[in-house]
């Protein structure tokens, strides 16, 4: 008995339909939703999204921009792998070859370098956006934690990549960066030896960092990013609200295709254009070849570690490198699990009072941080004031206790003076700390010159 094939289409058409199952272009909303659902890439999105979340000035496209940078980094990174050898003899020479011999070599390296650095900034700004719009509140607590893990991985990716050019900048930034590990009690020196592959930065370190940079960290990033985006899809975006606007009970939804995809596409094109322009004009830095006998003066860590390095100038290393950043990271991860006493999801800075107290926090950080730095630099010498104590106490526990006490006083002050809720006060403290960290980074990058002495930015160069 013969069977009549119900499909009268031609062979090419049947082949195409076996690949793309849904009609293109889709004719109605049902079809648009189906295209998103059945497409491997598009299905990272839900088939419909809440219309208010499309507002660009709510998300600023920062999460999407991070994904775009990740793609640029993957493509340029894989290209660079074909012309680079991770050995002390050849690495620096390969950098020179990228500049002189390989066509578009410098361009590809520039793209990789600037995208990597922009990635750190974008991931950080993405975190701030989510914090200040309350996007980490239940049910999104764990996705906030994943986000922090991603931020750390981005920094780790950048830091391991920092060594690969094997110039003076790379060598000493990594020496300083990994020396921080030596201060972790008990296990620190062993971990440091393990990742350096010996007592000092050398050939083994370059091999280790290369493996981490091109395989381990990218794989971890891809895994956690997938988890992160999947959670966003499951939990949906928080809905933006104006001040004093009650939570919406019904939100208008639109199909992801074309409403969201079109915005993403245009934004991606604009950003690609800007990054290409930037990479055409600005060369990635390359100093002289690494020389283990000679530390440059000043020897600075990578710019995103300069806030930490600035802390190190004021605290005993255990505190500057381990205790203070550890406390900050712990507090950051614990943030979504604290109790909320106001409903402010989707409102920039929580409330009217939230905006005022956040501004107070920012201003306090902006003023207090330079003042404290100057005070410690020129007037206050705790180890000399407390000569009978070891420096781990006089320059560690004592200043940490003083700073924590000041933070507690600030917390009480904001609650009393502004009648702020716990959420608003927490936001104010967060703002203060973030601004302080940024100020420390700026001081470290722009105001520290020879011998790490304080000076004006035009004297630093």
């Amino acid at each position: 008995m013969t069977v009549q094939d119900p499909r009268p289409e031609s062979l090419p058409q049947r082949v195409w339909e076996s690949v793309q199952r849904d009609e293109l272009p889709p004719q109605d909303d049902r079809g648009r939703m189906r295209v998103v659902m059945n497409n491997l890439i598009l299905h990272i999105h839900p088939s419909k999204v809440a219309k208010p979340t499309l507002k660009f000035t709510y998300t600023w496209g920062l999460g999407g921009l991070a994904i775009l940078l990740m793609m640029i980094l993957a493509v340029t990174g894989i290209m660079l792998m074909f012309v680079y050898t991770p050995t002390p003899e050849r690495a620096y020479n390969d950098m020179l070859r990228l500049r002189t011999e390989i066509q578009f070599g410098q361009m590809i390296r520039n793209l990789h370098h600037w995208s990597g650095n922009l990635m750190v900034v974008v991931a950080f700004l993405h975190m701030l956006r989510v914090f200040f719009t309350g996007g980490y509140r239940p049910p999104r607590e764990f996705n906030w934690v994943l986000g922090i893990a991603l931020l750390l991985l981005v920094v780790a990716a950048n830091f391991t990549g920092y060594l690969l050019p094997w110039d003076q900048l790379a060598y000493w930034a990594v020496t300083v960066g990994t020396s921080l590990l030596d201060y972790v009690p008990v296990i620190g020196p062993a971990i440091s030896r393990l990742i350096l592959g010996g007592p000092e930065v050398g050939a083994a370190t370059l091999t280790n960092f290369y493996g981490l940079h091109v395989a381990i960290i990218p794989l971890m990033l891809m895994g956690i990013i997938s988890f992160h985006i999947w959670r966003v899809r499951k939990d949906t975006l928080s809905i933006p609200r104006r001040l004093d606007e009650p939570p919406p009970n019904r939100v208008e939804k639109v199909t992801t295709l074309p409403h969201l995809v079109a915005i993403e596409f245009v934004f991606a094109l604009v950003m690609i254009a800007l990054i290409l322009l930037w990479a055409s004009w600005m060369d990635a830095p390359l100093e002289e070849a690494a020389n283990p006998d000679h530390s440059p003066n000043p020897a600075k860590a990578a710019w995103y570690f300069m806030g930490l390095q600035e802390l190190l100038l004021h605290f005993h290393p255990v505190f500057g490198a381990i205790v203070v950043p550890g406390l900050a990271l712990g507090a950051l991860a614990a943030l979504p699990y604290l109790r909320f006493d106001s409903d402010a999801e989707g409102i920039w800075f929580r409330s009217r009072r939230g905006r005022v107290t956040a501004a107070v926090g920012a201003l306090t950080g902006l003023v207090a941080t330079p003042v404290l730095v100057l005070l410690d630099e020129y007037l206050l010498d705790l180890p000399a004031l407390l000569p009978s104590l070891p420096t781990i106490i006089s320059n560690g526990w004592v200043p940490l206790a003083i700073l924590l006490l000041m933070l507690v006083l600030y917390y009480v002050f904001v609650r009393r003076a502004f009648g702020a809720s716990a959420c608003e006060t927490r936001q104010s403290v967060f703002t203060l700390l973030v601004v302080s960290f940024v100020v420390l980074t700026v001081i470290g990058v722009a105001f520290r010159g020879e011998g790490m002495a304080l000076m004006w930015p035009w004297e630093v160069m």
Binding site: W172, T175, V176, T178, S179, L180, D182, R193, L194, L196, G197, G198, P199, E200, A204, N208, P292, D293, H294, S295, P296, N297, P298, A299, L312, L313, H316, P317, P383, T391, I392, N395, E450, G451, M452, A453
Partner: protein, 164 residues
Amino acid sequence: MAAETSGGAEVTRRGFLKWAWGAAGAVALAEGGLVTFRFFAPKVTEGEFGGEFDAGLADDYPPGSVTPFPNGRFYLVRQADGGFLALYRKCTHLGCAVPWDQAAGQFICPCHASAFEIDGDVINPPAPRPLDRFPITIEAGTIKVDTGTTIQRDHTRPDDAVYA
């Protein structure tokens, strides 16, 4: 009977298997961890640094002199009183290479401005402890420095130095 041997708590078959699986899983994880750790553990490299250095005759070094040995990563210091010290050039703060400043008579770290005396003692923080040193032996007037052993110290002591 199971109840008697295990002191009151009845061990069910399901409970026993759960424990057995858990234990087997833990052992497998530990094995995997050990293999990974051993695989990535730094190899002892037979290079110049890490071995023993022959620094020549003690009489060739005038008192109050500091002589760099770049391959050995150390300075051979002869103090004013004639005692020898081999100081690891790695700053105890964050690992920069500390140069000897002849004019100032100090080791001054370019990274964070730590300064050390000629015997390695801290003059200026943030360095938390004196420069590390390597053991020295002097036999028949010839100095040998063992860079395989790093000696960390919280304070300098007079008996750090070795005399010819």
